[in-house]
Subunit: 449 residues, 2 copies
Amino acid sequence: MKVVKFGGSSVADANQIRKITGIIEDDSKRKVIVVSAPGKRYAEDTKTTDLLIELGKSIKNDQMDSQIYEQIIERFSSMTAELELEEQVLHTIKSRIDEAVTQLQSKQKNAMDALKSCGEDGSALMLSAYLKTQGHTSSYVNPKDAGILVSDQPGGALVMDESFDKLYGLREREGILVIPGFFGYTPEGSLVTFSRGGSDITGSIVAAGVQAELYENFTDVDSVFCVNPAIVENPKQLLSLTYKEMRELSYAGFSVFHDEALIPAFKKKIPVCIKNTNNPQGNGTMIVADLPEREEHVVGIASDKGFLNLYVSKYLMNRELGFGRKLLQILEEEEISFEHAPSGIDDMSVIIREHHLSAEKEMKVMDRIKQELDVDTVNIERDMAMIMLVGEGMNQTVGIASQAAEAFRKANVNIEMINQGSSEVSMMFGVHSDALSAAVKSLYHTFFE
Amino acid sequence: MKVVKFGGSSVADANQIRKITGIIEDDSKRKVIVVSAPGKRYAEDTKTTDLLIELGKSIKNDQMDSQIYEQIIERFSSMTAELELEEQVLHTIKSRIDEAVTQLQSKQKNAMDALKSCGEDGSALMLSAYLKTQGHTSSYVNPKDAGILVSDQPGGALVMDESFDKLYGLREREGILVIPGFFGYTPEGSLVTFSRGGSDITGSIVAAGVQAELYENFTDVDSVFCVNPAIVENPKQLLSLTYKEMRELSYAGFSVFHDEALIPAFKKKIPVCIKNTNNPQGNGTMIVADLPEREEHVVGIASDKGFLNLYVSKYLMNRELGFGRKLLQILEEEEISFEHAPSGIDDMSVIIREHHLSAEKEMKVMDRIKQELDVDTVNIERDMAMIMLVGEGMNQTVGIASQAAEAFRKANVNIEMINQGSSEVSMMFGVHSDALSAAVKSLYHTFFE
């Protein structure tokens, strides 16, 4: 049994729905399908989920932006019409949207999550109906019915362990099952969504639950590239990766796959394949638990901008038991998560994603550090970028750091920060944002050309 | 006015006392002298401080090891006899030792610190008496009388800010003042010692207090070397260093100068000169606040063994606000100070000096981490060594990391950890202890040959 997830561009219009039906028909093992909300049909198009969020934001008391509302209904009605589906399908989609709007107007808990989930739900309703018209046994399966139980963290739900046993029961059901991605239900029955792009998470959870032989993730690229194609033209495609490698790559700027999506599949050792809906015969990229030893030690270069360095210095810091803990506790109390915390003898840096530190919080945090920790210096350096070299076995290979550092030198880029030694499969470098592109190109040249 | 500190080997016997008297006479600005306890006269000799500690440990109720006691008295009596000092000098030294022994036998607070301080006190009493016999106006100044106020942390006292104003009053006193190093007094009048080697601290505090034009630190080497001479034969001598460079070098294995000793001089911008008692005409090493830009960016390579890596991994660690803080808090509660804490996405390493983690604490810490943090993996890797490259402006120079990493590669040494980015003047590398020597030699070859 294979679990197959189709991304937003794969369900963007009637033609794409027909295309993925073909893909499902090509392999009788493709029995459980997870879908995203209809995505962009052309570059300037708006994703259904963005429309739903905009609609939600426009709601005040019993008011709403009816133009956006009509735009959403139109997207679904044009698809159901072109696919010649029963009227009941559009009716169900519309009443779910209306219900969420009413919940929002009466300020019910998690109502925004309910509205945001209507895109995926609509895709699933349409696809299962279309599969039936093509002569297949198929049913729409709501995540509550499937057994996807999550924590009550709107927009950032975490799956609960009980889900997996329940999901195993899906194996017994007849025909092709279509499950909307992106959301689950709390044990109390409240709908909650995962973080954005969370259909990948649903797919991974379902694949783990039914113990699929393969989790296929269909998107709009042929494979995972070894570097950001916006920086390096036509980069090398990756045929295979380990889970760990993919997770580290996803974290720092690899948008092809959702950062946390792999975890459930990883834990149950389900192989994952990234494929292209528009080129389903291509190799794609296989992601597995273990790989035989490869010649190349560096398999990918991830990079991301938008970091800052909170720098603190204090004489005799290293004599002060608990200094590091106290600094991190201030950040925790202000709900600021950090990425790394390299430290010297009398100084400590904390690398934070810029969007985690608003101007208001920045003032407060700086004041608290000055007053509570009695430091000599505290300052913030913005416009930092992170570059991550990823590859299994890298940390056991003499000379990788040397090649990497030489690549920075050739590009005349100063390395502001190096963090190596904790992760077994990655090495992280901090540079100024304006040097990012030159550094990544030079690293690509060193390790892939 | 210059403050001059003489180390243990410079006051080891009567001949050395005569030698340093000559040094003091050579420069009329050498007005405040700080002395260590008599050190080793020959390689197999025992330092007076070690004898005093041994004596202290032998004390049970009204018992003590009288052989060690006699050995201590003999060291002082042979010196006072050879220097032809009044009997009163030896009598004073002996009664201070006897008093401390009595305090220890009656289990008085801080009595061990009182006993440990008798070496420095004896040196100061002998030197001031000898200076008088040579026709100088000189007086012994007890740290309490001088105004050295410290915190009540036996064996690890920290100086209090009030001390500096009081010490400034020493400028008004007549003649050559001789102050014993290594200890101060709490505001309640209790004698407390600094950490071992703390005479350097006394010298630095006094130099800062009297606002000396120079703090001269006489020891038994011609200068500070750029690398551990036990690893590289006849290494380059350093003519000048900044405070920051010296502090970073001292931290990781540079035993010539006490780790924290520089801070008081640093804060008051007093220049420090390291010189050799046995070659006072040599250049020595000057340590100052700022230096004109130098050609070389790396000025020293420090290295030290005896570290361990506490490694923890947990899926989604980076989603868990407070994880790092909680881990450091467990260490803090078990009173284990850490050196560095590099982190990956789902893992974190904490570098700890091995002697901070006893076998008993190790069990407890591992258990607490497993249970309280619900981690996937926790393990300890021992036999780690740290290498630190030090140099002002290093972090703004493209290519240093590249040269360093290449040196490791040439020596076929795998870099287990790199920590760069917090300190402006250093770059730290972790390697296995057995690779330390090869790596340091290769780095020396790269940066100094």
